[in-house]
Every structure is written in C-alpha cells, then in structure tokens.
C-alpha cells in the first residue's frame, strides 16, 4: 500500500505508468476550474465527454482544497443541465413572454439606455467573473458617466470591506487559509463553517484526527453542526458580539496581558466621530481607549450579550496568552449587522491589541460567500463608489488615473457615488412622479427578487409600474425573472472562459469546456454587444479620446476583432484582453496581479504576485517583513497603507448598542436567516440538482423545543411567521439541523417558494450600507 499512501498524500514522486484517458474511459477529458459556488475557491477537475460535463473530482493539485470538495462541489456539474434552462431572449408582452432574437434584445436595451442614460442602473454580483465585472464597470462609469452600478455583495461583505479599510487602510485579509493549518485556537464569530465553508472547516477539524490539538470556540446565536465540533459554545443574543469584543479588550488591559510592544510599535487608537461619521473616526490615546472599555467588565458583558462572565474570562485568557496562535473566522453573522463595520474592526482590534497578528496561525480572517466577491467586487471595484484597484470615484487622482488607463477625455468619470443596493432598488420601486430616480435596471448573475431584504418594499412594488423596466440575464427562471420585462439567457461556469478571486486573495482562471445551450451567451458578450450598439447609436461615451470603441480588441496583426458579434466572440480570448488591461490598475494598492498566462498554469495565485527573476511569486502573508515583498522596514510589521500615513493599524472602540429591531410584546421572537449545506444562496442552481434538492427539498422554520411546546406546535406543523413587513407560511422543524435558543427562530433563505425576505428588515450599517438579515422581530402561530 506504499504506493497508495504516496498517491493519497498527493506526492508527485510516485510516477505511474502513463495511460491516456481514452484508454480508461472513452474520450473523457479532464480540465481545471474553480467551483461555481462559494468564496472558498476550491478547484475541481471537470470531466467532459461528448461536449457535456459528466463528472467532477476534487483537484488534488489545488492548495485550497487538496482534493476534497463538499457535496455542492461534487455535484456542481449538474447545474448546467436543469431542464428549464433559459435558452432564448424573452420579452414581456402583457402577461406573457415572446421569444425574440438577440439582435432585437440588444436593441431594446440600447433604446432604454439612450432614452435616459442617467436613469439606468446595473446590478451584478460576486459571481460575475473578473472580466465580466470589469466590462460592466467600464461600460457604466467609463462609457455612460453613470455610477449606478452595485453588486449583491453589498448584502454580503460590504461591512468586511469597511472593517478592513477602517483598520488597515486597505481591503482584504492579511493572512490566508494556511493559518487554519497552524492555529492552536479557532474562534468562529457568528459563523457556521461546517455547513457554509465545509472544506475549510474540515481543514481544521481533520487536524484533530491526525492527533493535533486545536481548540474550537463557537460564538453564536444558535447551536449548529459547527457547535458539535467545538470545545466551547458561547451563546449570545443579537449584537452581543460588540460587548464581547469590548470585554476581551477590557480583560487584556486589566490583566496587563495585551501586547505592549505590538501596540506601541504598530497601532493607533480610534473612536467614532459622532459629529461627522466616517471611516477615519477620531484619534484617541491609549488612555482614552482604556477608559472607554473600562465599563465592559465580564459581568456587564454578560448582561449585554447573555454569555456567562466565565466564558468572557476564558476568551480574555486565550487572547492574553502570547504563546497561543489564534485565528478568527467570520462571515455573515458579523457582516449582516447594522454595526457590521464596527464589529469587523473590533475583531481586528482584539487581534492587534493582543498581538495575535502576523504569525502563521495568528490572524483575523474574514470569509466571503461568493466565488468572486473579492476578485470582482472588491478588487475590480464594481460598487457604486469605486473604480478599479481600490480607487474611489470621489478622489480626483483616482478618476484621473482611471481616465488615463481607459484613454478617456478628462472629466468623463462622474465624481458622485451612485446608489448603493438598497437605495437603487428603493428608487426603482418608487414611481418617477414620487421621485424614483431609476427607471431601468439590468441584473446579471444574481437573484434580488429573493435575496433583497424587505422584498415587499424593495422588489415586489415594481409590479404594475409601467414606466419601470427590469432586464435580467440569468440561466434559470428565478424569483427575479417573475417581474422581468426582458429575460436574457446566459452561459454559465465552464460554458465560458472565466476568472474568480476567492477569500484568501487567490485569483483563479478557467477555460470554456462545453457549449452553452441553444442561444445562451456569455454575460460579458452581452455587455460588450450593448456597448457597441450604444456607440452605433451615437452615444459619445462609448468611444475613447482616440475615437476607438471602449472595448476594442485587436489581434496580433493590430486588426480589430468584432467581439460584439457573437460569431466572433471566441475568435480571441476576450478574458485575457480585459484582464491584461485591468491588471494595470492593481499596483496602486499593492494588489499586483500576474499576467493572464501565469493563472492558466496555476491553481490560482495569491496577490500581490510579484516577479522575482523570471518567476511570478505569490504572497501568503501581508504586512509582515520577509513574507510580504512590499514591507521595506526591518521591523516585523508594516501597515503600508495605513490611513494615518504612519504605517500603523487602527484599533477601534465602538460601544455596544442594541439591534435595529428587537423582540417586543407584539412580535416576541427574533428571526435569524441564513444558509444550509446543501443549497447555495437563493438555490436557483442547487435546487435543480436532484441529489441536493432531495437532501433538502424545502425551507423550514427552526424552533426551540420549549417555545414550540408552549405554542402547541409539533414537528412538521405548518406555522405562520409574521413581521411588521410581511407574512410566510412554513413548516416547523424542531430539534433539527440547528437548535435556536428560547425566543428565537431560524429560517434558511434558499427556497423561492418560501420567501423569508418578505419579513426581513432593510435597516443598514451606516458606513457599508449592508442590511442586517439576522435580527428582526416576528410572531408565530400555528397555521
């Protein structure tokens, strides 16, 4: 079995007799691609036979997943073959849809835009590939001088971005997944990675099977599969995390176990500026900080959070032990939070204050939910206020640099940020006469009709508003297409070329492997085709200052390739052209990307990727000397994008405040929404995969057993959930997948026939504008 062991360990020392694939199983051909689903960024091997995807295997050459996948990844091939794939452009005529040609569809969109370019918006996602997002951004901000472009990532990780900016002055984690292999303690803040990032979770818990000791701590609002693996479970009330972070800081200072050298050498202190709230806040001294956290004794924290004082002391002791390596993980629990920016900054804060930063295994690591939330949204910058490479529209130099790279006439880019997601949809659902400033939204690769909060206000009100026009590019009919006026069939995943960027700064690439069905086409082509049509219609912005088309692509002879014509789109690799142009933007914030060809060879590379000799080398740890090529100082740590321009990170104080809506007499339960292992986000893909759909056919409401008993509700009973915004009838599940504490309920949001977002709250974080899907008040009764 020595051979098997060597093979299983992924060693390439063992050379086996080479047999071509066809000798083994027909003409099956294997090729690499990142998984289509979450932000982990696993690589899969895709098996293609006779032009169809027939098998998937975990990619053993990929560092992220080392050959392992989760059940969604193993079945990702099935997402292409749902029988109700959209295959033709469909235009709404009264109550029905009429199939039209692509030619007509492009014309309809171009006409809507030409009629009122400033009232047009694009709504995309962290599932846009990097080139797709870049093209959409360039069309909007470069071509139309219109900043109304925002992604669903606003609902997902906007607070992580503002948390990083407030702390380090630059976005995205300093550490990487390697921390999971090295940490002694893993703290999960409102996070259930056993279901949401299972491959990363296994990377930690499987260390225990190998005899290593890792202490797992779950700080959560309900018991989950993650909890069952944890050494400690700290059950908190909503917003209890704010008090807990302050409680840790309080104990570190009181016990004098904070890292004085780290704080003195590398940190400043900040508190919110009440008069002028922004990400810079106001500077405070260490002594001010000490005073501010003074009230947060373990007993006071217990009062605010519901977590026993003993367990707060435990956290204080762990962070106070410099010999332990502590990694924090968080995702939606911290981000979907009306104090999301504060909470993100405070987790960074406790790591900085205690010096648990910069050693492998010592890291605050924020996870993302979508495959390219980092790559496309945060790095390309497809948000209402951003430009590529960490630039913002309201910074004159940034606009100038962007205009230079895009060769636009000066002043083309609009300096006023566009509408963020909630604003955009509220404006779209408001009649023009009442001040609604958006008439047309083009949605690509996302499903806002299911995932926006408070759907009755932000989406459903579109129905019947004749002057509003909704364009949806998608692969299947969804909760969004039900109100669409024009539906465009899209190609997906390995039906097109693509690039994603995962949670650990890793940029990944794949090639098209199979054809999309019938008339389905790439989203990127759709954007470029509309751009070209707009140019033909005389919209000046679609030409650069040299009179060339904004998306002009030339072949090796310098001849323009007509990529706006679908028949010629794959005459050249459009992804490579767009990526090479985008790459020029990435140096400013030291997020350097390598040439496209390097990503073809690799299973992704973590930026900054810098050239050493003739090698392109990735970076695992940022801000740490010897590990980060941009750290010049001999000192161990250099925060070279510090917002205070002194190479220091900011440790923030934020006070504990209650959630935006808390249970009361009328609505006595807290509603938390979230995901399940089997389904990815709104379920439009995973619910079409038989294995996943059978395993988790329908949404449910998780109830505490005692609450259920007192309400006379039994397992499987239909119950009515009501909030101030909406109502839902749904089946009860008691002692099921998760166990909420008394007074709270949980509903997953994957089921389009049970739209829980009819009930959720649209209150947002003041800095990131991200809504809170985890806390709102509801009442329950038996149906």
């Amino acid at each position: 079995m020595a051979t098997a062991t060597a093979v299983a360990a992924g060693s390439d020392v063992v050379r086996l007799p080479v047999l071509s694939a066809s000798d083994v199983v027909g003409d099956l051909k294997w090729n690499k691609a990142p998984c289509r689903f979450c932000g982990t960024g696993c690589h899969v091997q895709v098996g293609v036979q006779d032009g169809k995807v027939v098998a998937v295997a975990g990619d053993r050459n990929a560092e992220v997943n080392k050959g392992l996948l989760c059940v969604k990844g193993y079945h990702v091939g099935g997402v292409l073959y749902g029988k109700d794939r959209l295959t033709k452009p469909l235009l709404r005529k009264g109550d029905s849809y009429e199939a039209i040609s692509w030619e007509e569809a492009i014309e309809v969109i171009a006409d809507r835009i030409v009629a009122a370019p400033e009232r047009f918006a694009m709504y995309g996602s962290g599932q846009w590939t990097i080139p797709e997002g870049y093209a959409a951004l360039k069309l909007m901000k470069g071509g139309l001088s219109n900043n109304h472009i925002d992604p669903n990532a606003r609902l997902c990780m906007a607070s992580a971005v503002t948390g990083f900016l407030a702390t380090y002055g630059v976005d995205e984690p300093a550490g990487c997944y390697d921390d999971l292999d090295n940490c002694d303690v893993l703290i999960m803040w409102g996070n259930n990675p056993a279901e949401m990032h299972p491959v990363l979770f296994s990377r930690v818990v499987d260390r225990r099977s190998r005899g290593e000791k890792v202490t797992l701590i779950d700080i959560g609002t309900r018991r989950t599969r993650t909890t069952t693996h944890c050494n400690h479970y700290l059950e908190m009330k909503g917003h209890g995390d704010l008090a807990i972070a302050n409680g840790i800081a309080h104990l570190l200072i009181k016990n004098k176990t904070y890292s004085e050298t780290f704080v003195k050498s590398f940190c400043n202190f900040k508190a919110p500026d009440e008069a002028n709230p922004n990400l810079h806040g106001k500077s405070i001294s260490f002594d001010d900080f000490v005073e501010m956290v003074k009230p947060y004794t373990p007993e006071f924290v217990e009062e605010c959070s519901g977590v026993p004082a003993e367990q707060i002391r435990l956290l204080g002791e762990l962070f106070g032990n410099p010999n332990l390596k502590i990694t924090s993980l968080w995702c939606m629990g911290v981000n979907q939070h009306t104090c999301g920016t504060a909470m993100n900054a405070m987790i960074h804060g406790v790591h900085l204050l205690s010096g648990h930063f910069g050693r492998p295994g010592d890291a605050p690591t924020s996870l993302t939910g979508q495959p390219s939330a980092c790559g496309t949204v945060r790095e390309v910058g497809t948000l209402a206020h951003t430009l590529p490479g960490g630039r913002t529209v309201n910074t004159p130099e940034h606009r100038q640099e962007t205009e230079e790279i895009w060769r636009l006439p000066p002043g083309r880019i609009n300096a006023v940020p566009g509408f963020h997601t909630v604003q955009m949809w509220e404006s779209f659902c408001t009649p023009k006469a009442d001040g609604g400033a958006i008439d047309t939204i083009w949605v690509q690769v996302t499903n806002p009709g299911q995932t926006l909060p408070n759907l009755n206000k932000l989406f459903n009100k579109k129905e019947g508003l004749e002057e509003k026009f909704l364009i949806v590019s998608d692969v299947y009919p969804t909760a969004t297409t039900r109100l669409a006026d024009l539906i465009l069939p899209s190609a997906m995943w390995v039906e097109k070329n693509g690039m994603f960027g995962n949670s650990e700064r890793r940029t990944q690439q794949w090639f098209k492997m199979v054809d999309p069905p019938e008339e389905a086409r790439d989203d990127c082509w759709q954007t470029i085709a509309v751009a070209h049509r707009l140019m033909k219609k005389g919209v000046a912005g679609l030409k650069d200052r040299d009179g060339r088309f904004l998306f002009d692509v030339q072949d090796s002879n310098g001849k323009s390739v007509p990529i706006w014509d679908w028949n010629h789109y794959y005459d050249t690799n459009v992804d490579e052209h767009l990526f090479e142009e985008y790459r020029k933007f990435t140096r400013l914030k030291h997020k350097d990307l390598a040439p496209y060809g390097e990503y073809v060879k690799a299973r992704g590379l973590r930026w900054p990727v810098v050239k050493k000799g003739d090698q392109w080398v990735e970076t695992r740890y940022r801000f740490v000397s010897k590990l980060d090529p941009y750290v010049q100082k001999e000192a161990a740590i250099q925060f070279y994008h510090s917002s205070t321009k002194d190479d220091r990170a900011q440790i923030w104080f934020h006070p504990w405040v209650p959630p935006a809506e808390v249970p009361d007499k009328e609505y006595p339960f807290n509603l938390c929404t979230g995901r399940v292992l089997e389904h990815w986000h709104s379920g439009s893909m995973t619910r079409r995969i038989p294995e996943l759909s059978r395993a988790m056919p329908s949404a449910y409401v998780e109830l505490n057993a005692e609450d259920a008993a007192s309400l006379g509700i039994r397992n499987g009973d239909p119950v009515i959930l009501e909030s101030r915004r909406g109502t839902l009838e749904i089946q009860a599940w008691i002692e099921g997948r998760g166990k909420p504490p008394k007074g709270s309920v949980f509903v997953p949001f994957f089921d389009e026939s049970k739209l829980i977002n009819n009930l959720t709250l649209d209150a947002v974080d003041p800095f990131s504008k991200q809504p809170d899907y985890k806390k709102c008040a509801v009442r329950i009764r038996k149906a």
Binding site: M1, A4, T5, V7, A8, L16, P17, V18, L19, S20, A21, V24, W30, K32, G47, K52, V54, A55, V56, A57, G58, R60, G67, L69, C70, V71, Y74, G77, G78, G82, D84, A194, P198, S202, D206, S209, R223, R225, T228, H229, N497, F511, K512, D515, Y570, D571, T572, N573, E576, E678, R687, P690, E691, L692, S693, R694, A695, P697, S698, Q731
Partner: protein, 307 residues
Amino acid sequence: MPVVPKTKSRVVTLSAYLIIATAIVGYFVGIQSPMNHLEKQQASQARLLASRVAPRIKTSDLATYTTNRNVASANGSVSNGNHDFVVRAASYSEMASVVALRSQPSSISQIVSLSNEQDRFAVDPLILKQAALATSADVSISPEQKQEALQQRKKNRAYNGAPPTVTHPIDQMTAEACIACHAIGAKTANFRIPKMSHGFYTNCTQCHVASERKEFPSELFRENSFVGLPAPDGGPRAYPGAPPQMPHATWMRSECLSCHGPSSLRGIQSTHPWRSNCLQCHTPSSTLEQTQLESEPQFVEAIPFGQ
C-alpha cells in the same frame, strides 16, 4: 545438617515459578502462532483477516483461474510445495474451525439464509468469523451480477466518483452516528454497511447527504437532464489474462475492500479475496489519479466543441 540459607530457598522457589510461568505463556503463544512460515507471504497479507485461509495458486493457472475450494480440501491439508494448494489457517487454535468449515457445503449461503425479522440487526460473532474464513470460497462473478451491482451503486451516485448519498435517515447534527457503523463496516442478514472507502474525515455530512427526506414531498423542485459518467465495466488489460488496471482513482477509494471485499456487493467483489496487496497487481491510472494531467489547459479559439 547444614541449614539451607533462606535466600537460597527463595531463589529456587522463584526460579520454579519463572519456569512454570514461561511454560504457560509459551503454550498460549504457541497455539496462537501461525501454522505456516511467513517468509513467503507478504507481511501485509498476514495481517489481514482475509488472508487467513488462502490457497496458493499455480502461476500457470492465473489466466483462467477460479478458486476451487473442493480442490483445496481434496488435496488435504498443509503442504509447502509450490504445486499444491495450501490451506492457510492462521494459527493452531483455529484448526478445528477450518476443519469444520471444509465439511460444510457453503458458508456464504448459510449467512444469507439467516434472515429472520427478529435478529435482522444481530451480528453473530460466529457468522462473522465464518464469513472471514469463507474468503476461500469459490468467487466467480457473472456479467449479470456485475451489471446488477453497478446499477445498485448508480442509485445513489450522480456519476462514477460522486460521493454516495445516504439511503437511511441521518443524525442532522453530529458525525458520531456515521462513525459507529461505517468505521468498520459489517454485513448482517438484511443489511450491508460499507466500511468507509477512504481515510478518516470528521465532517461526514459535508459530502454525504440524505438520499431523501421523508418528511417533505418527494417530487423534485425542477427536473434535471445531467447524465453522469457511468461506472466502467472493468479496467483495461494489457493482454488477456493480465490484471486489469484500476478504472477509478484511489483518491477517496484507498480502502479497496470497502467495495471489493467480502461484505460488498456480489457483482464487484474480488474474485480472489485472500489477496490483500491489491496495488501489487492493479495499478492506478495516472490520469484519474491527477498525477499526469495536462499541465497547461488550452484556450480553444473560434468556439470549441462545434457550432
């Protein structure tokens, strides 16, 4: 008479005890020791239960061989000659059961016939032992049996290589329940509990989800036309009679006996279960193992795969 010094008598008594103790220990060690010399066996082979009763087969028989227990028993018992079939009982203490086994028609059919509603979950230790000994049974597999086994496997796999879905209700929260049965695996009268085909992973439900949920309606949300890679009928052979190459990866399938062992589906069982060093003869495919993948994927111009 000189008085024997006290210490001397103590030494004698102690020595007597030691000799008696050594004799007793020696007896039990001896009875547990292998009946045959191990030097001609693979060390790993000796470790495994499956190799306890293993006829040796002449190399000239390899191309067409089926193991025939009758020949083995006809030839009688132990011989070290290369040309004779050798019954390997692991130790002298097991001789009696080996002799008993030889006088029975078929131990496998005996196990299968023991179906009784009352003890459907019961696993009789004697039955297990006999099952292990039955690895010397004549295992010949018809193409129909193989197809039946492949069809059976297909029921809860999306494609060849997909993690199987779980055909029984599961514990929603923890993995302990999975480990309790699947860490070792078993076969009872009515149940086949496969041993994990791979090394130990903690988060079982990460890959293995329930095949159905009885509390919800069974119809699918939407239909899907995905056609998964079928399981191969067998691996390619270099020439007739050559051992087939593995038609699947060993990744996640490192425990060969999980699917090919005595407790697996009949149609894909090994025809020679007493041999346990599988990779000695059956090589993995470098492509499927991902050790020799195309190093650099290619962009295919002008719309690949036709149009």
